[in-house]
């Protein structure tokens, strides 16, 4: 029995408290809403659910698009909380829940591989992880951040079921998987390879004596099949949407797909910042991970995720994903790689603490804090600035007065402030900040993303804007808001006229006189009412069921633990075996 606090595991409650203390104030300040790329997008989606829970057809973007193209659970929870605290605060609350759940998830996942003490260190490090700070405060990827912990929480149940046919594990694992898929399906798809395969491998290694590998694999496959069917049903409207309209648009460039070594800013953004001090631990992760048979599956998972996270730096993602390489963004894989490395890093921390005590504690704490500090500092130092903090009040006010909402509008140079306009304006736009739902030919025929940021996509972007403006009368596109004078010549030559100016000329409003009021654009992407019903009930139901199961069917308390000291005296080290008793 260890006595010194440096030789004891950190209690889970303390880790939760740590997550709340570190991220609580930052999220209370609603930092992601002004610093991140996607936070306003998630609020926009949530706002639609808050007003039209059972109708996923959202007319505010792309002259109408279906929100069934994006799993709804995170947005629906924001919508629910928004009735109590308002949309922006609800977003911060759900994001905070995600960060806390992530720490718990890392702890539970690490317990599969390493001791309780090492797991607690891994969980504590997850609070300060650069990738987490990057995804929460810079990328604003709420869905990845919320689904990853749910998935991590499901994996130990998957392990239990596969290894020892634990029925309760099967039930809880499945429900958590369904909830995770309801938040973000992409995380689940890649997670099944990067996280689940190592766990199956581990279950085979840890199988009870006399049990065959085939039995373990059969149970794992059974789990996967049932989980797949469940995901298929819960997200049925999504599959219908994706089958009806597969993503066939011309690929849109993204920096995470480039060779990071050719651009220091990209390298910093997608490597140094997300990994932070973890980079120093990488040699040890490989060394320790290779040294033990039980950790090898984890190491392989980490390595593959690490290579994916490097984007176009290596040819591996292109080989594996083929054409999908041009659609995916790769920053999310750095989170996966970091999460897969954390159990081994926890183990490393455990040995350092044993050997160097307070010095190691100070060093590790400083490294963790520095990692997060650099990630937060990068928000200010980075050359990639978002426009999410742009004041759009005057734009919203214009659109909501004098019947201006009878027409559609377009913003140019608003970047990711567009969702902020769309959330609070009654009028509809032909643009949108969500690439997968773009079906208008004026957008899909060109290799550019949002019209509002068209100039960054060069000729493709400007041609896309041109095509849209050419069809302005068809879409009832009368008003264009400009936050970058670059776009003004095209508008002037196309017949738009400047009618109002806001914020000392930083935002101008342009109008074309002969545009008729907008009419609904017919689309075969409109979901049937029954799809709206499913969408409004099953994903939320899966999360409520997960909460109920967590409350009504508590896990058994771990009985014993056998941990071998690091470094082990001789032979192959065993770090934790049958850790869950």
């Amino acid at each position: 029995m260890e006595t010194g606090y440096l030789r004891r595991p950190i209690p889970l409650a303390a880790i939760v408290l740590l997550a709340l203390v570190v991220h609580g104030p930052l999220l209370t300040m609603q930092l992601p809403l002004t610093t991140s790329y996607d936070a306003n997008l998630h609020i926009f989606f949530a706002s639609h659910y808050a007003h039209h829970w059972f109708d996923p057809w959202n007319e505010k973007w792309f002259a109408g698009f279906s929100q069934t193209t994006y799993p709804p659970l995170g947005h629906q929870w924001i919508a629910i909380f928004s009735y109590i605290v308002g949309l922006r605060e609800a977003y911060a609350l759900v994001q905070l829940i995600a960060v806390v759940l992530l720490a718990i998830g890392v702890y539970r996942f690490s317990r599969l591989w390493v001791s309780e003490r090492a797991s607690s260190y891994a969980a504590a490090f997850s609070v300060f992880l650069g990738a987490v700070a990057f995804l929460v405060y810079s990328a604003g990827q709420l869905s990845t951040m919320l689904s990853a912990p749910l998935y991590l929480l499901a994996l130990p149940y998957f392990y239990d079921w596969s290894r020892s046919a634990d029925g309760k594990g099967l039930l809880k694992g499945l429900v958590l998987i369904w909830a995770a898929a309801s938040v973000h399906h992409v995380t689940l798809i890649f997670g099944s390879v990067l996280f689940a395969l190592p766990v199956v491998w581990l279950a085979c290694i840890d199988r009870h004596e006399g049990r065959s590998v085939a039995a373990v694999l059969t149970r794992a496959i059974m789990f996967a099949v049932v989980a797949g069917i469940g995901v298929g049903v819960i997200l049925l409207p999504y599959w219908i949407a994706i089958i009806r309209h597969p993503i066939e648009q011309i690929p849109i460039p993204h920096a995470s797909r480039s060779n990071l070594l050719l651009n220091l800013n990209y390298l910093t953004n997608y490597f140094f910042v997300p990994y932070g001090a973890l980079i120093l631990a990488l040699p040890f992760v490989i060394w320790i991970g290779s040294a033990n048979r039980r950790l090898r599956p984890l190491l392989f998972g980490f390595w593959v995720a690490f290579l994916f996270g490097l984007g176009g730096t290596t040819p591996v993602p292109k080989w594996i994903f083929g054409r999908a390489f041009e659609i995916l963004t790769f920053e999310r894989f750095t989170l996966s790689a970091a999460l897969l490395a954390l159990p081994i890093v926890g183990l490393l921390a455990e040995s350092l603490l044993d050997r160097y005590r307070a010095v190691a504690a100070v060093g590790l704490s400083a490294a963790a804090a520095a990692t997060m500090a650099i990630a937060m500092g990068w928000l200010a130092w980075s050359p990639f600035h978002t426009l999410s903090g742009l004041n759009v009040d005057s734009v919203v006010e214009f659109l909501n007065r004098n019947g201006h909402d009878r027409y559609r509008y377009l913003t140019l140079g608003f970047g990711n402030a567009l969702p902020k306009v769309s959330t609070y304006a009654n009028a509809n736009s032909v643009d949108g900040e969500y690439n997968s739902a773009r079906l208008l030919p004026e957008m899909t025929h060109y290799g550019s993303a949002q019209l509002t940021s068209a100039k960054f996509f060069g000729t493709a972007g400007m041609e896309s804007v041109r095509a849209m403006l050419k069809h302005a009368n068809n879409y009832g596109l009368k008003y264009v808001f400009v936050h970058d004078p670059y776009y003004e010549p095209m508008l002037a030559f196309a017949g738009w006229r400047k009618i109002e100016t806001y914020d000392s000329g930083t935002v101008t409003v342009w109008s074309k006189e002969d545009v008729p009021p907008a009419r609904p654009i017919q689309s075969d992407a409109m979901p049937a009412p029954w799809e709206g019903l499913l969408w409004g009930t099953l994903p939320l139901g899966s999360s409520i069921l997960a909460i109920l199961l967590a409350l009504l069917l508590p896990d058994r308390v771990r009985a014993t633990e056998r941990v071998v000291e690091f470094p082990a005296p001789a032979g192959e080290r065993v770090y934790a075996r049958e850790a869950r008793g």
Binding site: I286, R296, L307, M462, A472, P489, G495, D514
Partner: protein, 369 residues
């Protein structure tokens, strides 16, 4: 295994990174830096222009001493709010024309992405062999300057006061201007149908105009609807005539029974200035062997015109409009200083052209509304 695996993973990672490095074209780029051929010298210079590294690009010139850096930058990146200031060099093609070992000529085609759409510029560059490398000799151009003077302008301007929304229904509004489509001609081009013609403002006040066309099937249902977009001068002064062109990509004329034209006219504030003279208009053949209508634009007012846009209507011997082409001029129009322009004429149309009419549209930064 436990010693072998870390090395395997490390080596595999390094190999994969190196593979990625090679695939990214880094090696090819490094080779280009040596400028061992005229082609490589031109590519190196243009790659620096593309990256907007003006200082380095200027040092690469063979005649650095003769060409001021400011003049070089103005030449490749524009000035005074001209179209080039709204442009970025997206890509370029280089091909050799002539090489005698000491001097060479290369032709470069610059593909710009601009605020009004793509813009291509073809230039012939002289390249010299200096020591081990080749360097581009940049043409020295003297910038014409206008003598200080006062240009009197009788400022003609129309302002509009519309009725208030609160006014009683009967309170009269000012009527929309009267405009008339003078001619309309539907042509089948290889990849599209083109509707073109001219429109006149018959009124005594300026008109904002837009021309739209709807192609109809034999049963009267619409096939497609398009507008003239920027292939028209949207603001027409009284009695002014503008060509228009409406393109319908991907549609064949035999699918069309009739065309419904729609000319919309609105009353807008406008100014009669600037007056732009179009001089020395001639149909010629350019360096690439294409037919072009060339000329000079002269801004007769005292204010800079930032982006001029040339619209030309071509008539056959019967006075019928047989083609309308347009082009943006990448230089600004300083007062009184001629600036050359050239707009394409399709090879099959050029022999039938008997006459032409050029209209100049413009964008001014300080007067965009």
């Amino acid at each position: 295994m436990k010693h072998f695996l870390p090395f395997l993973i490390t080596i595999a990672t390094v190999v994969l990174v190196l593979l990625g490095w090679v695939q990214s074209g880094v090696v090819a780029r490094e080779r280009m830096r040596s400028s061992r051929t005229p082609d490589e010298a031109a590519r190196l210079l243009l790659s620096q222009v593309q990256a907007r590294k003006w200082d380095f690009a200027h040092t690469l010139l063979a005649n650095t001493g003769e060409v001021e850096k400011a003049a070089f930058v103005r030449d490749v990146a524009g000035s005074n709010g001209s179209l080039l200031t709204y442009a970025s060099l997206e890509k370029f093609d280089v091909w050799p024309l002539h090489n005698n070992g000491r001097e060479a000529t290369v032709r470069v085609k610059l593909h710009y992405s601009t605020a009004v759409g793509p813009l291509d510029d073809v230039r012939d560059l002289q390249v010299e062999h200096q020591g081990e490398t080749w360097r581009v000799r940049w043409p020295t151009t003297t910038i014409a300057k206008v003598a200080p003077q006062v240009i009197p302008v009788n400022y003609l301007r129309w302002d509009v006061i519309n009725r208030n929304a609160e006014d009683d229904w009967g309170v009269q509004n000012v009527d929309s201007p009267q405009v008339r489509i003078l001619s309309m001609n539907a042509l089948q081009r290889p990849d599209r149908i083109v509707i073109l013609g001219e429109i006149v403002n018959e009124d005594t006040i300026p008109a904002y105009i837009n021309v739209g066309a709807t192609l109809l099937r034999p049963d009267g249902s619409p096939i497609a609807q398009e507008t003239s977009f920027d292939k028209i001068s949207h603001v027409l002064l009284p009695k002014q005539v503008s060509p228009y062109r409406i393109d319908f990509p991907g549609i064949k004329l035999d699918q069309v029974k009739s065309v419904r034209m729609d000319a919309k006219a609105m009353l807008v504030p406008a100014s009669a200035d600037p007056v732009i003279e179009v001089n020395r208009q001639k149909l010629e053949t350019d360096a690439l062997g294409k037919k072009v209508l060339r000329g000079d634009l002269v801004n007769q007012s005292g204010q800079i015109v930032n982006i001029p846009h040339v619209l030309a209507a071509y008539y056959d011997a019967n006075g019928k409009v047989i083609w309308v082409s347009d082009g943006y001029v990448d230089q600004e129009l300083q007062p009184q200083i001629p600036v050359a322009f050239a707009v394409d004429v399709p090879d099959d149309v050029a022999p039938k052209v008997h006459n032409y009419h050029v209209v100049v549209n413009h964008y001014d930064i300080n007067n965009a509304s």
